[in-house]
Subunit: 162 residues, 6 copies
């Protein structure tokens, strides 16, 4: 049986932290779907199209990585995508508490889906999409926080949120 | 003297977690007032009337439980309701840090009101109103998270927030 | 039915932190048993007799407070003492994590015994028996940390541990 | 070389917690700039002018304290102000996790700027601007939480946010 | 290439918590080695032989599970056993902080070994070998905390530590 | 007035984490005393002489750094050494909770001594003397964790504890 995992998130935008988690977990799975959750009540800095395009660019040479987007509950998307694993990166005890709640809840609703937690590397543990967005808005240099291959395309002009 | 406690919250909507805390603390008190705090700057998913009605339904056979709503500071409501105790359920260290701040503050402003912290049961510790709201919006099944007696009435049609 | 609670601990020695928790919870119960747990594998700085005597002195005018000691599991002692409540003071998120584990475990083994958590006051939250012992050994002044009525009797001469 | 530190924040409004941190760190530095960060996407309860005026009033007799405001990233402001130190007060483990992320990030972007963390005093650790704002809105008494010299001027009439 | 993981620990004794983590991660790997770390400076309640025998009994029908013991650093054992993954169960934020330190350290010393963190189920998160040992010593009933197949053999007579 | 700080610890042995904290805080003070606390009830892996010699070697070119040892309470040593500041490095929320308790206690006993908390750099935050000792005992390579100038002298032969 194929081992399929999803790596859900907003990826607004994808960071070196995300890329590191995906690369480190790829050997464990036959396929990892980078799954952009779409929440109509949430505002994103960049458009879904841009966010997808950046992830595609980063993983264009990794055939085991797919990119998709979904609405609704993550476990429902897992069933649709025939994924049995959810990958989550954790940086801090705060992340852990949040992931624990979600993972316990998912396991109450869908006991056959397993959550695999992967620790961010120490030197990447202060990076988050939130922080990258603030640096972009504050005109700082995000070059150390996002993949080289897309660092020229993630700019203030791409800001989508009104 | 009567031992009166309030159990404050938004109850948007009431969950099995809330019900468990109330039932476990009832023997300690002569009366528990389930007190819905109304914050005009906050948006609720369900109307105050629906939230009140659901709590009433759940505790219709518990004469020691009353339901009320209030504006302003919780300690001011306590004085008005002649309650000397505030009951708070805690699920995680995050909840604890939040409750500690509020309890210390309340005790600075009103030293004769005591906060009693009760741990959620392990199997209920991933349930919160926030999560129940997300499951409702995401079309998931909330049957395991809210009392049976009201599970038919908490539906998407009741959503009040525009 | 009588509401009996135990307040278990080593009380090596009793501190102002302990006394504050007991005084604040007394109105909730008909009797609080200050119960010194005896663990033969643990070394105590002061003898069981001294620790008991100090607690007795502090609460000599509180008829609702009893002092006792016990071996074995706390929940077994609760049953023997007909206590339905365990009171625990918490100072920090670390305390909380510890108490959560113990409370969940106790509730697995004995579901009808309830744990009531009470927050230390902010100004008492750095006091612990461990710290008081270190100050005594380091020849510091413990006057601010233990009840006045016993501050003359808790001295280095009373140290029992070899 | 002069030792210049900034103490960044929203100060919406300044509290006794802020004042205590500044007074305790003043001896370490030649100048502390209380620097109000202006984020156009954030709403403040009080106007920038009022917030500045209150801080000025509180420190009118401290020649080493200056007041300023800035847009954009804090480390960019540090460079402009020739400050090598960022002072941050921490009250809880939650504050700590947040400050850790920001400090690591700042040190990635600007390694020569050092963050100095100072613990809130126990009795001030439940005070925050957020809480003071809620008490003001809830018609409670903030006298214990803000400096005496400005307690008459921080009133509901000054509320700026629409 | 074979995917080999080790699940290191003292297993003094093995609990339902350990068994659950192993069963949930088995589908991800070709082999899981339950590896008992032997630290000559640490005292164990049960003998290495008993601890091994109990794990063997529990997994006698799982051909993918092997049992072994080792001295020295875990990453050195990984290399010897050709394992590229270390599995760790986490129950709480405290566990998380501990595992983070160890995992970062291991990755500094041996970057090609990956740590996979798996959350304990909510209802198992208060179980630990430490607690099971205390219940055994306190004459409590450990039936709910260890696998049925070995619950008759883990008794006070087997205590090895003097 | 001279700004004197102490940096207290066991330094069993000194690590790159300690060295980084000292170097980063040196510009703030006129003198930093690296103060080895001697607790007769604690066992150390290395002798006090070796631990002192290693620190001296590391800071032989830093005239503002002194090395000393002391018995009893840290705040009493501060008074003797005329130090008004205690420097502490923090790596994690666990460290923070510990330091908070100690700092609050010290400020209760000696309000004029200030504790300055400095965050470990992300890449050094998994290093501790405890871990370095375990690697030495487990025959691992500590080269990345201790200063180059002493890495040849910290060896298993120097182990002092019986």
């Amino acid at each position: 049986m194929n081992k399929i995992a999803i790596f859900p998130g907003s990826f607004d935008p994808i960071t070196n932290g995300h890329v590191d988690i995906i690369k480190r977990t790829l050997p464990l799975f036959d396929k990892i779907i980078v799954a952009i959750g779409v929440n109509t009540q949430k505002k994103y800095l960049f458009s879904l199209e841009d966010r997808k395009a950046w992830i595609k660019e980063v993983f264009k040479d990794e055939p085991k990585v797919e990119i998709d987007s979904y609405n609704g509950l993550t476990i429902n998307y897992c069933k649709k995508a025939q994924a049995s694993y959810i990958i989550r990166g954790i940086r801090s005890a705060l992340d852990f508490e949040y992931e624990k709640t979600i993972a316990h809840l998912n396991s109450t609703m869908q006991p056959d889906i397993e959550t695999v937690l992967i620790l961010s590397k120490a030197e990447l543990s202060s990076i988050s999409s939130t922080i990258v967005r603030e640096i972009i808005i504050g005109n700082g240099d995000i070059g150390k926080f996002i993949p080289h291959s897309i660092s020229d395309s993630i700019t203030k002009d791409k800001i989508h949120r009104q």
